[in-house]
Symmetry: C3
Subunit: 338 residues, 3 copies
């Protein structure tokens, strides 16, 4: 199985997940514990006490310290052991810490060499910082290699089939597909003309049921950070194009499982928590009942193999995902050589 | 572990299982999808889309076509790709199909070389086609190598112990056991004299509680197709022998699991669905609570080994099962050499 | 993974567990079936019928015989086949039996060479035979190597952290720790001064809430037989030291799982079954919700490795457990060389 790329920013958690106590989460196959210091900053440590090897995430926060729940060794947010009720505090008790940035309602973690972390920027998701966008967030664990998730989002031709009853329409079949690479960013796009939006999307766009031109475009950055822009342009003289955004952040847990974080904006419709909830539940349901079982079934077949090594049939719509896979392969090789 | 024999007819499903949508089932370790065409014929394809490797059984039937649920590739019953919304239809998109026969309320599948399928006949189970037999059917997945199931049915000496409370009697202990081979068919038999049938069997035979001579004989054909004839001959001047039939069809799923299909006739007693139900539930309960846990416990011990390689103690009653195992070994070798 | 030591007495069961029917239990990775003969003696046999390899524990007791549930082979308590309804009784049908002693409310089993069993004594737990001690017993399966359980009990410094809400106090932090080896027995001790007992312990000791000196000392013998003596000495002129005892008996099931048996005395307080129940539930809850999840998390990290091979940080409190581990290593080596 291809190794995880370490020198990248990964999403480790939704900001709302890191509140009172420590949270343990495996990222790129490494056990990580996340907790919030009194300043509000999030700390990320290797989730293993060097004494008895129990997860520090089974311990508790005391001020800025994380205290092991078995024998009381205490750590600061840099992984430095600051108290040892069982003996002397020595440097050998320190644990690794990981650089963390909190941005756009997400906790980002750098899994590689801390000295290299400024060489890679977190892509711009500042749309999530605009209150008028009323961003909604979600998380779902998935039993699939994270690149199978990327394939899913970069090839939106599946909407018509997998989401036939929720997001698909007759017209989407005729969409024109494009893929484009700019440096290490991949763009994938499709445009659908003369389409009546299905009810779930009409709820987000409020077009009044008129025929529209719908465009879907995805921006991808490594490892699997995707901004899906859905543009809707109603026909007729009074042109009033509207846009919503869906962000997808996939983080490998192991070589066969991943963490799926998502965010979605809701700039139209009433400022009503009930509408927020409906958006979250609609997206959650589509993923949980349609994408997730299909991708997990695919994982059972591909196993530890790389999908491309199994020689799948490749079509035009797969282009963007293949570009993304190639960039990851390059990054992986560069890291192995370094 | 011994390889599966491919050039044989296996039971893939009860006819009633293949109705509205596609059914995925692993047979001889291969993923198979079964669906019914508009003509009523059952099609069986390799259950994997060549594009993203998802199971075609997660898709849907549209007329005679099976449409992949992920990106819409469509197949006919011969495995030919007949539509590809994502690009060109090419022969490389075709999937393997398996010969199918539907007979006696069962769907039979040929897992080997299609050219050889006429060289092996499906054994005669036409008793199931007689309405007066009021045949009842059932299916149960079992975590055991399929030959352990054959052992169970070919050696009915277990009835007294494993089914002490349902099918066994004191007298069955004295039964005389016979085993006989004719070509590639094995027969196993035992006869019990002066026996009062237990309540469950009395329900099937309606002997009026008189002492009877009970004979049990099993006909076996590869891979594990068994016809058990239970004959009951009441004592006394007015001789009126009665017979019921139990059919057992075991299909390997993997090397440690199998599909157990069964059928049972009910020629006596009232024509009452409640009596049908009672027969089905009685057989189902005996297997689920008595045979299945015992055989699955045996599987946990034997693992991937062939039972005979573990040098079990062998008794007279094991003869028929050993004959059956030998025929399978010959078929397996012949196939490996070919 | 280190091999199990065979020439030792292990606890196989609580006496109360072996009553009506046979009990199957894996001990040192071997399947064992335990049952009680009419004399009251407990028999222990290899839990596998030599005919079909099913567990004899799925059979039933008939007088002093254990009868296989599949085909009726019958065994006496020495593992001798005494009846075979399927054919001749031969010596090749015999199964291995294990020496058993029943003592102190526990069933002890000798897993090694029967000729060597008198060379190792069962340590003295006769406190459990005194009715005034009102001993309480319990059993819990745990997914951890048995030596991780020993570590837990031999290093009571975890009480303050893992049992902060039940058994821990502020004062225990200042306890002085000692470890001592005498032959093949290890002693571990700690003493706490001027301590107010937490409510759960006050229930056992009935000190009236006065400050006390609490001493905890553990006696260990191989494989993992531990007697924890908790002494409480109230301050003040009217000295009246009180003692209760907790016994811990850990038996390996496999290299990553174990059987945890425990016993606890309750010499003080009213002779009331409700108080007995409260003690059992309190100990059971502390182990189930505090120790067990922590030790099982530790097991997930250590896997098949020996903890010491992973180079853990070692502190003063770990001394007693290290002594115990060393004795086991010596016994293991001696057995491998013999």
């Amino acid at each position: 199985m291809s190794k995880d790329i370490r020198n990248l920013w990964y999403v480790a958690a939704l900001s709302t997940e890191i509140a009172d106590g420590p949270v343990g989460r495996r990222i790129c196959s490494l056990p990580v514990v996340l907790y919030r210091e009194r300043s509000g900053a999030v700390a990320a440590l290797f989730d293993r006490c060097p004494h008895r090897f129990v997860p520090l995430s089974r311990g508790r926060c005391e001020g800025d310290r994380l205290v092991c729940g078995y024998h009381g060794l205490a750590y600061d947010g840099a992984g430095k052991c600051v108290a040892n009720p069982q003996g002397t505090v020595t440097r050998s008790l320190d644990v690794r810490s990981f650089p963390v940035e909190e941005r756009h309602g997400l906790v980002w973690i750098w899994m590689g060499d801390p000295a290299l972390r400024d060489t890679v920027a977190i892509p711009d998701f500042s749309l999530l910082d605009r209150p008028a966008m009323r961003p909604q967030y979600g998380y779902m664990w998935t039993a699939a290699h994270f690149e199978l998730m990327t394939d899913n989002i970069m090839d939106l031709s599946h909407i018509e089939f997998l989401h036939a009853d929720t997001l698909g329409t007759e017209k989407i079949r005729d969409a024109k597909v494009q893929a484009r690479v700019e440096g290490e960013t991949v763009y994938s796009g499709r445009t659908v003309h003369d389409e009546i939006l299905p009810p779930f999307l009409e709820g987000s766009f409020q077009t009044g049921g008129r025929p529209v031109t719908r465009s879907l475009s995805v921006r991808w950055n490594a490892p699997a950070l995707m901004l899906l822009t859905v543009g809707v342009d109603p026909a007729g003289p009074e042109k009033a194009p509207r846009e919503t955004f869906n962000m997808h952040f996939i983080t490998p847990e192991t070589s066969t499982t991943c963490h799926y974080f998502w965010a979605a904006t809701r700039p139209y419709g009433p400022d009503d928590p009930e509408w927020d909830r409906r958006l979250r539940e609609g997206l959650e349901r589509a993923f949980r009942t349609e994408d997730k079982p299909m991708i997990e079934a695919q994982q059972l077949v591909t196993g530890e193999a790389d999908l491309l090594d199994l020689k799948p049939a490749l079509f035009r719509g797969d282009g963007a995902a293949i570009h993304a896979r190639r960039i990851l392969t390059q990054l992986r090789r560069a890291e192995e050589e370094a």
